[in-house]
């Protein structure tokens, strides 16, 4: 599969095959055309970050992979299976899990119900003890209403609940948004530990400094296209370009 990498996706890790391969992905919200041909790969075991300004199409890319954008074309291959026409419930059952930007904690469910809501889709998910080990706060608040948690706790719950399903490919949409530095740090440790556990993670981040602590590779999204990509090792050499892309 390595030879199919396009000019837009130059940086590829040497190890493993593509777990996810996105080619020429276009997507629409109603009438508005958001993605104009996205190309990138994610290899098994990597943490890959999509960077870009607000409205560039990062979230839409994740949602298109998850199958929750109504109109999408192109090709998304997961484990060599094309999922562009697959419904989101079947995509989830193939082992892709999504943690949305707005976290999606259910107000009418308590913390325990929120945590246990996503069905187990395959064996190999983290056992509950290990999840409570990662997020000790949750254990103490199991009987609280989901939305009574603090923002940080809700984010932890949103990540925690997709770890026990057995999905091995996680898509996290801005997990640090609006959180205190100490909690951002905790989420950083969590992502590092998940990577060690063998999870593959596709991250969307505005917080570039946070991303640089966890990511193996980066792609830059602009106007619904991937305009650049580089590995963590190439980061220093690309800092100037990156500042221009992100306008920071």
């Amino acid at each position: 599969m390595a030879e199919t990498a396009t000019a837009e996706a130059p940086a590829k890790a040497a190890s493993g095959g593509n777990l996810l391969q996105v080619r020429n992905l276009e997507a629409w919200y109603g009438e508005s055309h958001i993605l104009h041909g996205i190309n990138f790969d994610v290899n098994a075991g990597e943490v890959v970050t999509l960077l870009g300004r607000n409205g560039a199409g990062k979230t839409t890319t994740l949602k298109s992979i998850m199958g929750i954008i109504g109109k999408r074309t192109g090709s998304v291959k997961f484990n060599d299976q094309d999922i562009i026409r697959t419904t989101s419930d079947k995509i989830a059952r193939m082992g892709i899990a999504f943690c949305p930007e707005e976290r999606g904690i259910f107000a009418s469910l308590d913390v325990r119900e929120n945590l246990l809501l996503p069905p187990v889709v395959r064996p190999g998910g983290l056992p509950l003890e290990q999840i409570f080990d990662l997020f000790p706060n949750l254990k103490e608040r199991l009987n609280s209403q989901g939305t009574k948690l603090s923002g940080g706790e809700q984010q932890m719950l949103a990540i925690a609940r997709i770890l026990r399903t057995g999905a091995n490919f996680l898509m996290l949409d801005e997990p640090t948004e609006g959180l205190a530095p100490v909690i951002i740090q905790q989420i950083g440790h969590t992502i590092a530990r998940l990577k060690k556990e063998g999870f593959t993670i596709l991250l969307v981040e505005q917080n570039f400094r946070f991303a640089s602590t966890v990511a193996d590779r980066y792609y830059v999204v602009e106007h619904g296209k991937i305009i650049d990509g580089f590995s963590n090792a190439e980061l220093a050499a690309n800092m100037d370009k990156l500042h221009t892309y992100l306008g920071v």
Partner: protein, 287 residues
Amino acid sequence: MQALYAQLLVGLINGSFYALLSLGLAVIFGMLNIINFAHGALYMMGAFVAYFLLNLGGINYWWALLFAPIIVGIFGMILERTMLQWLTGLDHLYGLLLTFGIALIVQGVFQNYFGSSGLPYAIPDQLKGGMNLGFMFLPVYRGWVVIFSLVVCIATWFLIEKTRLGAYLRAATENPTLVRAFGVNVPRMITLTYGLGVGLAALAGVLSAPINQVRPLMGADLIIVVFAVVVIGGMGSIMGSIITGFALGVIEGLTKYFYPEASNTVVFVLMVLVLLVKPTGLTGRAA
């Protein structure tokens, strides 16, 4: 005093039907966002299925309590698959018009074959007769209807609020897209939910058959009051619709005793008052 207790009992019985019907309406509204105007017609179908089972198949009341809700529930699920599902995302008005049209068609078909008069459905032998409670005479069947309805309502509440399946249902009511992205087949769940709500209506129809006879317009008469009950209780809450259903039945019964002239309007007067004070209903959430 005897007359007061008798009216209270009638109120509790009507309250049972209100509760079973408004419970189904609340569940359906939560999941499908549809105000199911066909609910009265489906309640009537429940009574007719019981009648057919008995007179054509020799299947008694007890089996009808099981089979009529299943048969009508399946009919409801076919409606959902073939028609209602296409209304997802549209204004409430479309669902209301479609289900109202379905109600008229179903009632029209039954009226065409059975006219408007009632068909008799006998009380099962085991529930015939009555008990002297000292302060009043309680016909056994009527007591049974109240208690059985209460049990079914509480079981439904338990299913929705306390089980894993119920957690899916509540979550999908809030955010169906995300629940589906977790791997739950939400469209199938919606169909089954509609079947459940319709099944509850059909069950109420079976319970009502021995008391009110089996008539094509039995649902049309009842459903107007049930919608008032739903407006008073608020669409959002399961327990709210159960309590409101029984409470309004009792209030209606009391009104029949103390001021009979108002007994047909008291529910609507209450509805107006509630709408003035709390437009989302007593237990409802803002839409």
